[in-house]
Amino acid sequence: MKKVLVVFSIAFFLVGSVPRTVTGQTKTATGSSKAASDEAGIDSDTKKFKEKIVNAVSEQYKKDRKAVSGFVTKTSDSLLTIKTDTDEDLEVKNDEILTKIYQISNGQKKEIKMSQIEKGDYIIATGPMIDKTVTANFIYMDEKYLVKTGKITEVNKEEYSLKVSTVEKDVFTIDIETSTKQQILNINSLVLEKVGFSKIKEGDTIHFTAIKTGKEKEPNHFPAQKIVIIPQEYFLK
């Protein structure tokens, strides 16, 4: 029995050790010139790897840059409090030396002072954000646009206004003014065409844009900047 155990052990170790030896051999360097060329290769690989990391980090930074925007609810020399679309209160810190402040108007930006920003203005701030405070690198005073879609539930031909109900169950009253750009979808050619107020019907779908100043007399009542009508006939085709 002892003999059996001895032979068994020898056979086991002999066969079992073979693969480890083989895998070990693949990593062994064979000569000094090969080692040098390997080192040069490693240096070049490291350089490429570093460049890749730098590029990836830079791209990621560009992608991750975020801005916050909202109506100003409180002002002071170095701090603005804003209310965002989601009713969140955020603080925007202004650094007198580092923060640049601009007003955007007609596609142009003009540098302004912190003191020119008032309660009720709409601002965009960019910079690092910790908790609910943004340390602003840039502050832009801009206009707030609403872009909404809904179904027309009422056409007021005397007031030239439309009552619109959105999917979120919000109800808007929009005034159609002489400056309002009015278009309708041609259901055959699927091209937008000019339309008059008289052609708009209850049940049609409307896409509209409007400027929200935050100083409206009635909530959700705005003059429309432009409208696009999808006639109900499109859905019956």
């Binding site: 155990l5 086991f12 066969v15 895998t23 801005a67 960019t126 832009y140 801009d142 879609t149 999917v167």
Partner: protein, 144 residues
Amino acid sequence: MKKETITAVTLGIMLGIAVAVFVVFRAKENQLSKNKPINGVNKVTPSIAKKNEEAIVPLQITEPSDGIIVSSKSIKIKGKVNKDSLIIIQSPIKDMVLKTDSDTFDVDYPLAMGENAIELTVYSKDKNLGSFQKELKIYSLDEQ
């Protein structure tokens, strides 16, 4: 040679081979995990279940991400919709109507300086599905 000796040698060889095979596979696995590409090119994420799930999504915007800051005057909007959908893209500066003949769309859309509120609405070919909307806020800011 005795019968016991032959049995012992055979068993020893078999066990040795088993251990060798195990060690080789472990070594290969270790090697592969060390050489994993950093850009995740070989990452296998989508499953058949996920593909089916995506197929019924009426509007999926794959590019750009909401709230992104760019310095350009236009942006590429890419997404997935059901085939033959009608897409209306609206912002204060542009109204666009698209009829898709595939399940993807890809458009260049102009941007104004500042905040760009862009609403995408999809009307599926199947009118019973109704419409689906997504709003994007894109900031076109020349930060200098």
